[in-house]
């Protein structure tokens, strides 16, 4: 049996995109858009803003391709840009931290029962109540499953800072969600 060619790695696609192959960048978009969007929803709290943040992230990555040297993984690089864009979004918009059910449903978190929807809304609300740097560590660890080292790279802080931020962020989040937790 003949094996087909292996799909190009992220690094290869980024390298081609740097050389002017726009198609390679589109392939990277296909590969990472979903994960970036899911993280963006956690960081900004609604679908429309999350899409804007992802769009800005991709634009930033496209413009910054020449500066990408491949020292970090493409996913880490994109996540780093996304976290910055989300923080910028938070600073500039500072929108009211309320989520309507329809917004969260639009974000793809389909509820099977009203009770479950309430939990989801409260979790989303609690996430938005956290300071951006605490929200980021929770989202990167609990949603993305990143290691402390990857998080340190994404957030440009030492590993020890990641650990202490995560400790405090978990405490705050638990306090906000104590009615659901033992």
């Amino acid at each position: 049996m003949e094996n087909g060619p292996l799909p190009p790695t992220d690094w290869e696609l980024a390298h081609r995109a740097r050389a002017g192959d726009d198609g390679a960048f589109h392939a990277l978009v296909d590969r990472h858009a979903q994960a970036l969007y899911a993280l963006a929803v956690r960081l900004v709290g609604n679908s429309a803003d999350a899409e804007d943040v992802v769009q800005e992230t991709l634009a930033g990555a496209f413009r910054g391709l020449r500066r990408f040297r491949g020292r970090s993984a493409v996913k880490t690089w994109l996540t780093q840009i996304l976290v910055r864009q989300a923080a910028q979004h938070y600073r500039t918009v500072r929108r009211q931290r309320t989520l309507r059910l329809d917004q969260y449903e639009q974000a793809g978190a389909t509820a099977s029962a009203q009770g479950r929807s309430d939990v989801r809304l409260d979790v989303a609300e609690a996430m938005l109540s956290l300071e951006p740097e605490f929200r980021a560590v929770i989202a990167l660890r609990e949603l993305e499953g990143m290691s402390y080292e990857e998080m340190a790279e994404v957030l440009s802080v030492p590993k020890g800072t990641v650990e202490s931020r995560l400790f405090r962020a978990r405490r705050q989040l638990r306090e906000l969600l104590k009615e659901y937790l033992p």
Binding site: V29, S47, L173
Partner: protein, 155 residues
Amino acid sequence: LNDRIECEQIGRAGAYHDGELVGAARADFERHLAGCADCAAELARARGLARMLGGMGSPALPAGSLARMHRGIDRLAQAGVVHMAEVMAAVAAAVLIVCMAGLARPAPAQRAVGALPDWEAEVVVQQTVDTPAGGPEELWARWMVQDLSRKGGHE
């Protein structure tokens, strides 16, 4: 009022839960965990929160969102091409202006004629001078010798 001091290692419970403690550090913490109610409770709370957040599901991209992202990149790429064309046009225009300015200035040879020794000026403007029967080379050679003799730089 709860003034009980928590275990000083409680911050490690999260790292242990996240799999960030390895080797001896992990073994040490596990030994500590066996006898520390604070850290055991903290670990249980970390696990509960992780379960809850993990159960939230991952928001899916809305319909049409991916296509909008691709169109955004196409617009950026197109804008990049236009910008590059504008830069090239500006460079070409600048080169053209410099060349035209150069052509408009008088030729260096004509401007400098008055300042040159006779023999050099003659070489430069040779076309405008009547040449002797022996040809211009003979005349130039004669003038060179005269000029150098005047300056005393010829032995």
